[in-house]
Symmetry: C2
Subunit: 219 residues, 2 copies
DNA sequence: TCCACTAACATACAGTCTGTATGGAACAGG
DNA sequence: CCTGTTCCATACAGACTGTATGTTAGTGGA
């Protein structure tokens, strides 16, 4: 009936260590060589365990990858939330301002090559669309979608469909972060991408006195 | 010295057939099951040859994939160019108008599930960034970048850095096409994504009498 | 304290897949 | 007619994944 509060008193520590070591090693190797080029033997060697431990803790290699990716996404989300809540305390603003600042923070946070390789590059191919989307939905899209909905409610963003808007904005900043990371001159690329992003976002906002139809409308 | 015009008179036909059969089968299977889940044996079985033929025509499995992806990208580019040149003859316009219409055409053309799976999903993970980017550069980015440069020269798009702009716009319409393809209600998703895209593009254009800084500018 | 029982691994093995080496058939050229 | 090359089939070696089996440590109950 009662779930034991502490699983094995002291042995549980060791078990958790094993799992963490596997995650850590896999994360490093997946990010560096990619999923397919990383053998399970490589992972367990780096984690100083055997393949038995791996297949005890995880269903298969893809399951281990899923755990690694979830960890990456989770950490990135936490980092961004912490960043923005801290900023909002000293400099509060509306949801739309928070969103735009969050986007720029994302571009800065995406020095994280592990995140890019694991979540953005390998993820879609390894997990397939549904599983990948479920993970991103859980860790990233919710935040973005909520902020967008709030910004629309506040009237600073036009009443556009949140579903596609969320996906497309996420793709936009993801690509921007990849562009920055791959550029030779990171500083310059960061500025340029930030500028382009800022300009693209203009179209979403409500500009008092200027009807979007005036610009969008065909002849 | 002189390259023979026809390689084997009649045998060349058969050779080309073999190669085409491999490309066709691989394309079908890669798009359906993904790269990793498709064995070389599956491919040659579908092409009615043996693995020997595969490894005679292609360096390895990844090389075959590269050829398949190049074919997909090439065809998509040709389709779009044909579409837009045809449209431009009856209804000519400036480069900016051509671009926006081209984006919308891309959303329509992306019913092509093979293109999405092979070029957008599997490509980056299988080929790695540099090889993937080289292919897309060759078949897709050049067109987009040229049109953007022209639109900027014509003064309809603000003088933004073309490099990041190209990548980010490509990512935008790619994600939009994926969103449409995965949606339950394709028609509705197509409309919504098109709308969001159109709105995002507004920010790039020059609006006479309205300074972007007026909107972008922070307090 | 002793005994079952299970979690947490280690090891051995079987199946699959890739790439290569080898062989042969057809054809071109001298 | 002989030689070389193209084109392809087959056989084989190596690597890798997942599973089945063994082993040890710890836990709960009598």
């Amino acid at each position: 009936m009662s779930v034991p509060r502490i699983r094995r008193s002291r042995s549980a520590e060791h078990v958790a260590d094993t799992r963490r070591a596997l995650l850590r090693a896999a994360r490093e190797l997946f990010a560096e060589r990619g999923y397919a080029a990383t053998g399970t033997e490589d992972i367990v060697a780096a984690a100083a365990v055997t393949r038995g431990a791996l297949y005890h803790h995880f269903k298969d290699k893809a399951d281990l990858f899923r755990a690694v990716m979830a960890e990456c996404a989770q950490e990135m989300a936490e980092r961004l939330v912490a960043q923005e809540t801290a900023r909002a305390e000293t400099n509060p603003g509306d949801a739309w301002q928070l969103l735009r600042s969050g986007f720029q923070s994302f571009l800065d946070a995406c020095n994280d090559a592990q995140f890019q390789r694991i979540v953005l590059i390998e993820g879609p191919a390894v997990l397939g669309h549904s599983a990948w989307d479920a993970l991103v939905e859980e860790h990233g899209y919710v935040l973005l979608a909520e902020a967008l909905t709030e910004a629309i409610r506040e009237g600073n963003v036009d009443d556009l469909p949140v579903g596609p808007l969320t996906r497309m904005l996420a793709a936009l900043i993801s690509e921007a972060s990849l562009y920055i990371a791959r550029a030779e001159d990171h500083v310059r690329a960061r500025e340029e991408a930030g500028l382009v992003l800022e300009r693209l976002l203009i179209g979403l906002g409500r500009v008092p006195g200027v009807s979007p139809a005036l610009v969008t409308g065909q002849s």
